[in-house]
């Protein structure tokens, strides 16, 4: 089993580089897990979305105080320093999505029926800005309605009327969703595997292949008493061992980050997908190793191929936020089908054949990619041998 041992030695030599990818995977997964656990879990009741806004008032009057109280139902108030630059920064980096400024003397002019406006800086055309606009306009339009129809009203009694009227709410019923909708957070640890696992597999496989592409080494193996078939079989076994260990390590981390769903049927399909994807990643490594010469070139090609496919397939950015053209291009990579299959597997609530058919058909596409990569590399190797 000398060839087998040699392959494992090559892999061992590359472990430090592979650990970088594990480290990246762990860091990103921790960040995503922490940020998704911060998101509100609404349970069975509907909760109003709250937008982060800055409320900067040049005056303190009962009317403005009432507006602030009313907006509290739709907004979280964020205190920002009284510096224009800091406020602009907060808007750019989305600490707030809306800065509402009430000019001095607003209440007096409003009560006198003059034409007045509030100022805002907001994320242009955003849904949250529209939401806050709706609330501010409702408050002031209702106030104006009372002023114009009830004659002489003091500010205090106006606020009292507003308080009474604006406490009316529509009835909202939250139905159980037929499918889980927060798919990105749910399968992130599995989807992100497309980056770390395929990088590791491609690096490892390509390193083995690059070593055996060395002419002297190839000649040495050819003149040894080991038959070519046996040598190839040993390379195959070593690849299998390597891929298996890489898959198990990665799966262990996935279980760790998604511990509450480990015993569900969804996980079975996620595991099946990842196993098939591991085979595909190995075949891709085999292909890159057959085509590319030199360790430096392998690292360059791995980075571009793996990073690129992850960017456009919905690993780093949720697939629903990607453009149609991008997704169409991505569909020429196995990563796209892996992410799609994972997203569908995570949404399954029924496990009859018609429900799982979509997941399995995506998995089948990954198998086809694996076969194509493998066949292509065999052809390339054969052509090279005779050239």
């Amino acid at each position: 089993m000398q060839v087998y041992k040699l392959c494992l030695k090559i892999i061992k030599k590359n472990i430090p580089v592979m650990l970088i990818y594990i480290f990246i995977y762990l860091s990103v997964s921790i960040v995503v897990t922490l940020s998704s656990s911060r998101q509100n879990n609404t349970g069975n009741d509907f909760t109003d979305t709250k937008a982060n806004i800055a409320f900067i008032s040049g005056e303190e009057t009962p009317l403005i105080e009432g507006l602030r109280k009313e907006l509290g139902r739709q907004a979280n108030f964020i205190n920002l320093p009284d510096k224009k630059e800091a406020q602009q920064d907060a808007l750019f980096f989305r600490e707030v999505v809306y800065i509402l400024r009430i000019p001095e003397g607003f209440t007096q002019k409003f009560m006198a029926g003059e034409e007045v406006h509030l100022e805002k800086n907001s994320v242009p055309d955003s849904a949250k800005a529209a939401y806050i606009d709706l609330a501010v306009d409702q408050y002031l339009n209702t106030a104006r309605f009372f002023l114009s129809t009830m004659g002489d009203v003091t500010q205090e009694s106006l606020v009292k009327y507003l308080d009474d009227v604006l406490s009316q709410e529509a009835d909202v019923k939250l139905m159980p969703a037929p499918a889980k909708t927060d798919v990105y957070g749910l399968v992130f640890s599995y989807n992100y595997m497309a980056y770390s696992l395929s990088s590791i597999l491609v690096l490892g496989m390509a390193a083995i292949m690059a070593a055996f592409n060395n002419r002297d080494l190839r000649n040495r193996v050819s003149c040894s008493p080991v038959r070519e078939t046996a040598a190839n079989l040993q390379i195959f076994l070593a690849s299998l061992t390597f891929a298996g260990v890489a898959w198990l390590t990665q799966i262990a981390f996935c279980f760790f980050f998604d511990i509450e769903n480990v015993l569900t049927m969804n996980t079975v399909y996620l595991l099946l997908n990842s196993l098939v994807f591991t085979v595909c990643g190995t075949a891709m490594g085999f292909l890159i190793g057959s085509v590319v010469k030199g360790n430096e070139a392998i690292s360059a090609v791995t980075n571009v191929v793996v990073l690129g496919s992850c960017f456009i397939s919905g690993v780093f950015v949720p697939a629903q936020l990607l453009g149609e053209t991008t997704l169409r291009i991505a569909s020429f990579t196995p990563t796209y089908w892996f992410v799609k299959a994972n997203n569908q597997a995570a949404q399954l609530t029924q496990f009859d054949l018609s429900s799982v058919r979509l997941v399995l058909s995506d998995t089948a596409v990954i198998v086809c990619f694996a076969l194509a990569f493998f066949a292509l590399s065999l052809v390339i190797r054969k052509v090279r041998r005779f050239s």
Partner: protein
């Protein structure tokens, strides 16, 4: 002699395909990937008309005010809703299939059926709240004085928009452009690969090529500066192509001050090259370790500057780690680009460039101190 070393070094560096890949092709590819994956993300934040259904029952048909309010909100270019009339069962199916965000059952109060909480569901609810509240306000006024019926309805039709967008002093708050700025900053720092080569190839105890250069009758500093100029020229050319690609092909906005953008890139490129030279002069280890340090420092710097997660810069670096904010060249560079795009004044930009220039001068001085007058008794 300067021209001779410069020209030969230029050819040498251009033939180094690995360095050319990491400093030129990789940032270009990354910019393209950023563009493909991020160009649509902003639309997730933008308001889109909400698909909503209303149950077309007798209550809805008979309640003219409610029907008018809903139809008004579903009309025109700046409408809130794309409204569908449906039976109860159809509406439920549309909701289950994800074709609508929710459906409304007219009544007093109206009822909204949704299957998740979210901004669009909250906007529908706000609209229904507003209707209920307005209805209640009318009741209250008419309770007080039933004779002013006509005045009340005239006043109702007189709704205004009370909030106006204040004129922006600089660029739009489109934070996706920032990712491209961090990418350019990272690419500037990748110039360190060139700097590393220059410092390595002038230290006779590290490479045989450096030993050969050292016995040539050329002043060491002159040889180093000539070859560093060649490295700088190549890296600057790469950066200009990257900048042009991001600006004109990917259409990323840099604000109106093109001259300052170029100046920032030039300073960034010099910082990157001398950072590499500094590391190579200080660290007396193998090339692999030096490359590891350069990539490690650049990637950690990029990560802290918000390249992977924008909150990393704003929440962690700006607010909690001021020392790292001012000593991280990737952050200073990307913040300089950000200031040029977003602010109307140059105060913060000047601070960034000042700090970056200090760091660059420090790298240059330390490299010089480490390399100068080094003699070798035996190699």
């Amino acid at each position: 002699m300067f021209v001779h070393i410069f020209a030969n070094r230029l050819r040498c560096l251009l033939r180094d395909r690995e360095t050319m890949f990491w400093t030129f092709m990789f940032p270009l590819a990354l910019a393209l990937f950023f563009y493909m994956s991020l160009s649509n993300v902003g639309k997730g934040e933008a308001f889109q008309e909400i698909d909503v259904a209303v149950v077309n029952d007798s209550w809805y048909q008979e309640n003219q005010f409610f029907r008018t309010a809903l139809e008004e909100a579903s009309r025109g270019d700046d409408r809130l809703f794309n409204l569908t009339l449906a039976t109860g069962e159809e509406a439920r199916k549309l909701l289950d299939d994800g074709k609508i965000k929710g459906y409304i059952i007219a009544g007093d109060p109206p009822q909204l059926i949704v299957n998740e909480s979210g901004i669009y569901q909250s906007i529908i609810k706000s609209f229904l709240d507003n209707y209920t509240q307005t209805f209640r306000a009318v009741e209250k006024v008419l309770e007080n004085d039933p004779r002013i019926y006509q005045e009340v309805f005239d006043s109702l039709g007189n709704r205004k928009n009370y909030v106006k967008e204040a004129p922006a002093a600089g660029g739009k708050p489109d934070n996706l452009v920032y990712y491209f700025y961090t990418l350019i900053a990272m690419a500037c720092m990748y110039g360190s690969f060139f700097g590393m080569r220059e410092a390595t190839d002038i230290q006779a105890d590290i490479t045989p090529l450096a030993a050969r250069i050292n016995i040539a009758p050329v002043h060491k500093l002159k040889a180093f500066l000539s070859s560093t100029c060649a490295a700088l020229l190549i890296h600057l050319s790469e950066m200009m192509i990257l900048l042009a690609f991001i600006r004109y092909v990917l259409n990323i906005d840099f604000g109106p001050r093109a001259g300052y953008v170029l100046l920032t890139t030039v300073i960034g490129s010099i910082t990157g090259v001398f950072f590499g030279a500094f590391v190579s002069a200080v660290v007396k280890k193998s090339e692999g370790i030096k490359v590891g340090i350069l990539i490690g420092v650049t990637m950690i710097g990029s990560c802290l500057a918000g390249m992977m997660y924008i909150d990393m810069k704003y929440i962690i670096l700006s607010k909690n780690l001021p020392f790292l904010y001012w000593t991280n060249p990737v952050n200073l560079l990307s913040d300089a680009f950000y200031c040029l795009y977003y602010f109307d004044n140059l105060n913060r930009y000047a601070l960034n460039i000042g700090a970056l220039s200090c760091i660059t001068v420090l790298f240059c001085a330390l490299t010089y101190l480490f390399i100068r007058r080094r003699k070798y008794a035996s190699l």
